[in-house]
Amino acid sequence: MAPKTRTIGRRTMLRGMVAGSSFVVGLPVLEAMLDTRGLAYADGSPIEPVFMSYSWGSGVGNLDGLFDHWTPTGVGEDWELSPNLSGLAAHKEYLTPVSNMRPYVSGGHHELRATVFSGQHRQNDSYNGNGAYQGLGSDRPSIDQYIADRVQANGDDSPFHSLVLCMSDVGRHYNSIGRGHSFSWRENFTLLTPETSPEALYQQLFSGFSPDPEQGGLSPEAEVELKALDAILGSANHLRARVGTYDRQRLDAHLQGLYETEKAIEELAKITCELPTEPDGSYPPNAASVEPLIAKNIAFSKLIAQAFSCGLTRSIQYMFCGMQADPVISDVGATDGIHLLSHNDLSGSGDSQPEMIDAVATYIMDRLADTLTELRAVEIGDGNLLDHACIMVASEMMDGRRHSGNDGTPMMLIGKAGGRLRSGYHYRPADDAPSTVRNTSNVLLTAMQAMGLDDTTIDGGLAEDPGGPIDELLLEV
């Protein structure tokens, strides 16, 4: 597949298809096809917004009111960035910090992650049908998966249901392998292992498929691969006839992956899109758990921007690092991992820990700023990707040293979601506001509404029910 000359948004391109043959058009994208505000096509169909949840484990350095370097000052439209958010200054018009929210659940990393990212958590440990411990999680899918499910059910034909990515590779192998290393999961708390390699993501998105734009259809290789995938069903049927109920569900999960792959091959064949530059080199951690995260994040961010702008997916979960993971951020002078820094009894370096955690939090937001810069560089309509994105930013807890939901949750929405989402705004309910108002699930619901879903509540079985989407942050389109 030879590189194409210019990037073009997929849905725009689809509307430029004639009788099954696609063509490549230079940017700026077909302004004549857009309505006057650039938020919809001339025929009235909207440019669909894209969703991303951005997360990191163990919170920010905000211990015991020593300092609060996370929460912005001022509220509404008149607000100032906090020290942790200072690196995002160039993107302030797209930011909507949501402060003083709480998940209303007791517990540690795992209960809080489940609640903040899905609105629900499982009350007890559970075991799956073959007797395996599944841990504390959620029976609802995480927000990125929920939104992907809903937009696909509403007829979205993106080749990839969703993507799950992680910047840091540290924590994947160490300690509880995998259990804390994801902010994305399916029903019944099946965690989705994130992709940690930009190279592998590139392969998955751009190399594994071979559409034939010259013919406007599937390439011979793609036709053969579909045949090869169909051939797998015989083996699945043979096994399915013999195994028990639970194992049949596992086989069905396997086949779900097969069906999604087939769909991706078919849908990708309809897309004409510039191939991004292949990431050069890999980014493994060294013997001190230090990784080249600045470069790695930019490599990932370019691919994220391309995946969105080419219409490859509508939902991405991107995490900086997992919970209880120990990447060492040497760029800010840390010699201990992030999780260790949050346990003063374990660190041996003598780092001034609240300050070091604080510096790491600022660093994480700086990386987010780099990601936003890449998204903003992609033109869509008469705006950019951030105008058409809804990004939910959160860690599962405010401060890893206390790991309690009672301290609030660092959260933020970013982007305009095609005009549905207010931005450049600091939403902060009062300390004495009722639980219905301060509920973190309200932020999930706001994101869902911004993505065009009609959800007004989440039955999370939590101590306190959410009040609903935050009206103040939602705009009529």
Binding site: S176, I177, E225, G348
Partner: protein, 579 residues
């Protein structure tokens, strides 16, 4: 020393199980799970993650019937080795990450033990797909490569040369008979015909057919076939043995014995087991599956992912880390295969393997270069095996500091298979900050004065604190460096303790106590059996554990013999249908 067999009853003492070597045979699948989310190597408790220990039953927790034969997904290592052997690409290493194989730290169930529980997500499926395409493209890269694999030169996509290859490949990959009209075979033949037509060569046709085969559930999952008499059929025995001894699919001999049903003959089954063991002893390249069992059981798979504080340990680099891992492999194979020693030698060893870097770290005098060589340990050496190896001590430490909790918990949970329940949710699990210049033992002791905490801590702290003799990369020390109010102090270490009534003065004596604890022999039996079956054990299977353990301790405590007995035991070759 003769080890007694211990009845399988649980004794509940203030939240902790106690008593030498008592073991929950279900490995926690009944709710007796251990610590929360942090897993084995951390040891701090981030909140009461789990519900209370020691309650519930299998049926309450998801309806898992006793001893049911589950469908196992190949572990990553099994997938890679099976693909290599099937396609004759022995050097192949997948460029893509394979699906997460899962691990259950809480119940010290390792990848192969949770193989019956993992589910493939769409992301995981795509990884299999990419790996399958990679491997097939490598195996059928040229016409010469194709002819080498087929043993003949096909004239067309429906040539007998092609069909014969597909029959044997799918028979081997799926471990079942493949008839000429099997739907799977016909579908693969269709792929060859279609691809040959579209892409212009039989070679590419075969490449795509094998890509399909590698993504087939019968290859990626192993579900034995019922022989109708409570056992598994000959083909299933072949794959079970291949997985246990080779992490792979059946070799030619196993396949032939499966095909003619001769593996159903117990005498021939024994001969095949003996053959697999003999090959393992004679040929170091055949030991990968056994090495991986130990790497997983002892968390040594992560040695090369361990990071250390460069200020504290400037010498800790990639080369040292690699040497640590290699040392453990050479040392273990020396005990298991070269010398076939009493298995307790893994804790009480007279020999280590060092190169120049490791000799410096261990304080061993002599001339060494990059090559790892065996050195006999002197009687006054503080080292004696796994627990004093640099690899173990580095993994079970933080970047700058040791972790007595992680090390102690490893001894209790991994080596003795005792579950330590998580701390009650109401308890503050933070180790108190130093009040003065004091050792970790001093701080721990203030932390554990609460009797509800003490019972559990007593099960792990003494072992972990005796290992304070070794720093976070495994260097021997007599003093602990303690920071307090900006000053550093060198404080003498107290390494004494007690394990189930056996007192020890230092970590070397501690290792002896662990090796002679009845729980140790029982634990290795239990772990190997779960690993072999690819599942947790149900309480009804305690008899099998007892039998195997008894044979092990009554014999020479040879691990190779234990493998033989597990392989031929009825539990390994039985079948119970799932609901």
């Amino acid at each position: 020393m003769k080890v007694r067999s211990i009845a399988l009853s649980l004794v509940l003492l203030t939240g902790c199980y106690s008593g030498g070597g008592q073991l929950d045979p279900s490995g926690g699948a009944d709710g007796t799970d251990g610590d929360g989310a942090d897993g084995g190597a951390d040891g701090d408790a981030d909140g009461g993650e789990d519900d209370s220990a020691g309650e519930g039953s299998d049926d309450d927790d998801g309806g898992w019937a006793v001893g049911t034969t589950p469908m196992r997904r190949l572990t990553r290592a099994q997938f890679v080795q099976s693909v290599r052997d099937l396609l004759a690409i022995p050097q192949w290493v997948p460029q893509t990450d394979l699906p997460d194989e899962g691990v259950n730290e809480e119940e010290f169930q390792l990848p192969n033990m949770v193989a019956s529980t993992v589910t493939t997500t769409p992301v995981g499926y795509n990884r299999y797909r990419i790996a399958a395409k990679e491997a097939s493209a490598l195996a059928f890269a040229t016409d010469e490569a194709m002819v080498a694999r087929l043993g003949c030169s096909p004239t067309g996509p429906q040539d007998a040369c092609v069909v014969d290859y597909l029959v044997v490949a799918s028979e081997r990959a799926f471990s079942r008979a493949i008839s000429q009209d099997d739907p799977v075979l016909l579908a693969l033949q269709d792929v060859v015909v279609d691809a040959t037509e579209r892409l212009g060569s039989v070679r590419l046709g075969l490449q795509w057919a094998m890509t399909s085969l590698l993504q087939s559930p019968e290859f990626l999952y192993f579900y034995p076939v019922d022989d109708g008499a409570g056992g598994i059929d000959a083909y299933s025995k072949a794959r079970s043995l291949a997985l246990m001894f080779r992490d792979s699919i059946p070799d030619d001999a196993l396949l032939a014995h499966a095909r003619d049903g001769s593996l159903d003959d117990p005498e021939l089954l024994d001969l095949e087991i003996d053959r697999l063991i003999a090959e393992m002893i004679d040929d170091p390249t055949q030991r990968g599956a056994v090495q991986r069992f130990f790497d997983e059981w002892w968390s040594m798979t992560v040695v090369e992912a361990v990071g250390k504080d460069p200020d504290a340990f400037p010498e800790f680099d990639d080369a040292l880390r690699t040497a640590m891992k290699q040392e453990l492999e050479l040392w273990l194979q020396d005990i298991l295969f070269e010398r076939d020693l009493d298995f307790r030698s893994v804790l009480v060893s007279d020999r280590m393997f060092v190169n120049n870097d490791l000799a410096a770290l261990y304080g061993i005098a002599g001339e060494f270069d990059d090559e790892l060589v065996a050195v006999e340990l002197s009687a006054d050496s503080p080292r004696s095996g796994l627990l004093s190896s640099a690899a173990f001590l580095s993994v079970m430490s933080h970047p700058a500091l040791t972790s007595p909790a992680a090390r102690g918990r490893f001894v209790t949970e991994r080596l003795l298979c005792l579950s330590i329940p998580p701390p009650p949710a109401s308890v503050d699990t933070t180790v108190p900050p130093p009040e003065k210049a004091e050792t970790k033992r001093d701080r721990f002791s203030r932390h554990t004065t609460d009797p509800t905490c003490a019972a559990c801590h007593q099960m792990m702290d003494p072992m972990g604190l005796s290992l304070e003799e070794f720093d976070a990369i495994g260097r021997f020390r007599r003093e602990e460096t303690v920071f307090f109010e900006g000053e550093s102090y060198e404080l003498p270490l107290d390494t004494t303790g007690e394990l189930n009534g056996v007192a020890f003065a230092d970590s070397k004596e501690m290792a002896v106590a662990v090796s002679e604890d009845p729980g140790f022999a029982r634990c290795v039996t239990h772990q190997l059996l779960r690993h072999t079956l690819g599942r947790a054990l149900s309480p009804g299977e305690a008899t099998a554990v007892n039998e195997l353990e008894q044979g092990f301790v009554d014999g020479d405590m040879s691990f190779v013999d234990l493998m033989r007995e597990v392989a031929r035991h009825r539990i390994t070759n039985s079948f119970t249908e799932a609901e």
